[in-house]
Every structure is written in C-alpha cells, then in structure tokens.
C-alpha cells in the first residue's frame, strides 16, 4: 500500500467535504459553481486513485466519466445559468451563514458517528473515509432545505449526489458499472431538466426566485 495512494485518497476525500462546506460559506453564484467544479475534480481523483490502486478498469472508466460530467459539463451548464443572472447572490437564506456553518459542523460530527458504524464492517483505508461522504450528503441536504435561490438548490442537489458517489467509491469501489453509468447520466439529465425549468420559469414570470413561487398551496 503505497503512501501516495493513501495520501492522495485522503486529500481528495477531504477536498470533497471541504468544498461542500465552502458552498454554505460563499454567497455568490460564481463561487458556488467553482466549489462544485473543485468537488467534481476531487471526486474524479478519488475514483481514479482507487481504480489505479486496485487495477479496476471499470472504476477508472467511471473516474473518467465523473471527471467529464461532474468536473466539466455540469459546472459549465450551471455557469451558463448563472451568467443569465449576474451578481445574483443568496442574500437571504432561511438560516444565516454563521449558523449554517455551525450546523455543518454538527452534521459532520453526526456523520462521523453514523459513518464509522458503517465503515466498521470492513475496515480499510478507503472505507474509513466513508464518513466524509456522508457528511457531504448531509451538508447538501442542509443547503437544499435552507437556501432559497434556484441555483443554490441545484448545487445542494449535486452536493448530495457527489457525497453519495464518494461513499460509493470508498465503500464498494463502485457499484456495478451499469448502475454507475445510470446514476451519472441521471445527474446530467436532472441538471438539464432543472435548467429547462429555470429558463422556462424565468421566461414566464421574469424571476427565478423560489421565494416568490406561491401559486400552489393549500
């Protein structure tokens, strides 16, 4: 077990979690997208590092796919949306930024408690890092629930997806390729769907602000 493999894995997994926390910290849409790109790249590094270490070709393919989809295509799509609405910021989240960050810290501790029990089944360098993926998932949920802007919600969704992907790589070295392909393509499709919706809503009601979506209620 070479130490570069371990070091790279730990660093990349840490970067995935760090970038998800940074999305709670930053308000500008541009920096959200940059964080997302960083996360996609770090995720690809995890997959490729694991794949190279275990000589698993399927995992290497997945890593390449992640690199293209989550590191390049999805951020580019989001940036296009962001450009239509320059200077847009998450100005009024439901939970303010300092409290969000403290919540993120609490969620990280929670995922450590739960995640170590999951990792205990098969201890190893990769498996032990799984709580970091769980924490990313939880931070993504938190973002989805507390942020009002449409772009922030998409970013939250993608954080959840990336966290799950990280756990998948770390715990199982990737589920069967067909499922992995399916899930990665689904991410892309969901982003396309969301983009379509945002553009349509923008055209119809001149706003993407979800705070003003009050047509439907009981």
């Amino acid at each position: 077990m070479s130490s570069t493999y371990v070091g790279t894995l730990e660093l990349a997994a840490g970067a995935v979690l760090l970038s998800s926390v940074m999305t709670l910290w930053r308000r500008g849409v541009g920096s959200l997208v940059s964080m997302l790109r960083l996360q996609g790249l770090a995720l690809a590094v995890v997959a490729i590092d694991l794949g190279a270490h275990e000589r698993d070709r399927a995992l290497l393919v997945t890593g390449g796919l992640v690199l293209i989809v989550k590191g390049l295509v999805v951020p580019a799509l989001l940036r296009r949306v962001a450009r239509r609405d320059p200077g847009s910021r998450e100005s009024n989240p439901r939970v303010n930024v300092p409290s969000s960050l403290v919540f993120a810290a609490a969620l990280t501790v929670l995922s450590y408690v739960v995640g170590t029990r999951i990792a205990a089944l098969a201890p190893g360098v990769a498996t032990d890092l799984a709580p970091l993926g769980l924490a990313t998932v939880l931070v993504g949920y938190f973002m989805l629930v507390t942020r009002r802007r449409a772009v922030s919600k998409i970013v939250g969704l993608l954080l959840v997806d990336n966290g799950i992907a990280l756990m998948t790589f770390l715990l199982t070295s990737g589920v069967p390729l067909i499922v992995e392909l399916g899930s990665t393509l689904d991410v892309l499709l969901v982003v396309v769907v969301l983009q379509f919706l945002m553009v349509s809503m923008g055209r119809h009601s001149r706003t993407e602000r979800l705070t003003e979506m009050k047509a439907l209620h009981d």
């Binding site: 910290w25 409290s99 810290a105 970091l132």
Partner: protein, 318 residues
Amino acid sequence: MGVTSWYAWASTLLQVAAVAVGGPLLMGLMAKVKARSEGRVGAPVVQPLRDLRKLLGKERLHARHSSVVLALAPMVILASTAMAVAISPLVSTRPLLSTSGDILVIVYLLLTGSAAAALGGLDVATAFGGMGASRAMTIGALAEPALLVAVIAMSIQSRTSNLGGIVSATLAHPDWVLGPSRLLALGALVIVVIAETGRIPVDNPATHLELTMIHEAMVLEYAGPELAVTSLGEAMRLGLLFSLVANLIVPWGIATRPTALALVAGVVFLGLKAAAVALGVALIEVRSAKLRLFRLPELLAGGFVLSVLAVVTGLVAR
C-alpha cells in the same frame, strides 16, 4: 541534567529575546510590504522599534478617574505574552517548562492578555474604550472555539496536546504536513491568527476611524511608556502566533539537539519562517477589504467549521 537545563534556559531566553525584537520587526515588515504593493515607499522595517524607543522616553500620563487597572493592564499584557513565548517551542523543541507547554496553557495565557487589554480599555470609561473592548471580546469569544478545536485536531494526530510534542511528532512524520486534517486545521489557525492579531479583514491596525477600529479603540487612552509596553505586548503576541503557525506548517529548522549551533540555526530559521508567514498575511491584507463587523461571525464560524472538519478527517484518516 546540567546540559539540559543550560539548554532549556538558553532556548527560553533566546526565544523571548527573538520574539521581543522580531515581533515589532514583523509588524514593520508587513507595513512595508503593504506600502510597496500600494506603490508607496513606506516606513523602514525597523520603524516600530524606533517608535517603542521614542515612547519609552516620554512621561507617564494617566487620564483623570482612571484606576490602578489602567496602570496594571500593560504589565499583565506583556508578562502573560512573554510567559507564553517562553514555554512555546519556537527556537527549540525543549524550552524551559516545556512539559507545561501544553497548548491549552498557551491559549489561556494569551487570553489573560486579551482580558487585561479589554479591562484597560474599559477603565477610563470613554466611549471608544468600551466599544473597542466589547468588539475585541466578541471576536475573541468567536475565535476561541475555532482555535481550541483546531488544536484538538492536531493533538489527535500526534496523540499529545503538548506543543513541543506536536512539533517533534511532525518532524518524525513529514507526510502529516500535507494530510487533509493538518491542512484544514491550519486553515482554521490562519483565520484565528488573523482575528487575534487584529489584521485585515477582521480589524485594520492602521485605522483610527471610529466606526471600524477595534484594537486601536481599546488602547486609545494609553500614552508614553505604557503605550510602549502595550504595543510591545501586542507585537510579541503577533510574533508568537506567526512563529507557532510557521512551526506547525514547516517544523524543520527548529533546534532538537542541545548544541549552540542548533540554537543559532533555530533562531535564524524561526526568523525566516515567521517572516514568510508575515509576508503571506500581508498579502491577504492587501488583497482583501475589511469585513463589516456583522460579517465577522461568518468568517470565524468558517474557521470553526474548518477545525471541526479537521478533527473528523483526522479521526477517519489513518
């Protein structure tokens, strides 16, 4: 034993002397860097030392109605900081009392200094003193959890909360330096250090604008030798924090063996490393604008969450 105690005394004295001279120099260096990057020539690097000498030559002046607190506060600030410098692993890993060089002790010694500064600011009962003290305490209260948790992250990795122990363990495991846990903890430390030393984006040491100043508002009532003592205390605090960060990032160069040569090398390396950190902080200052006071909790909460991430990453990565 004889050798060890000679060595311990020598390292402690060297440390205190180095930080007492180096702290003001670091401040001068940062001012110079900022001035140059703004296209000005700027004051010479030794200007803070000259200011100290000038202030020491002036007469003592106390505001009317001030109590003994105002007179004592500068002494407490200087003494507590000097004590913290004495027991930290700066020039060598084993200064005097290094077994007590627990990071918690150092944190609380620094806190004693902050509390004394706040009390001194409150003593004269002017609006500025009270405002500065309240703001400084707020920042201190927010920065402290981040600092403690960041330290816990490092102690988990090296299994000791003794600073000398952490530095020695890092020397033995160079791969830790680039580990995610250490990097996150250092990110948190940098934020805390910026807050604790009152640099931009938290506080602007050069301002005397009533709405923005924090530290300067607290020491507004001091003059002459007492201002000199307070300023020296603050400079040493900055020197100590920068040197600690430097030694945690790059421990190499610190004296580990009891020889005179190692000690001299330790001083030189410490100076270089601390200057590098000061350069980095100065660049951050140049590049960023001061945050509004109400945005500060975000920055410090960010530092806190970074340190929590450092702890969790440290626990899962091994």
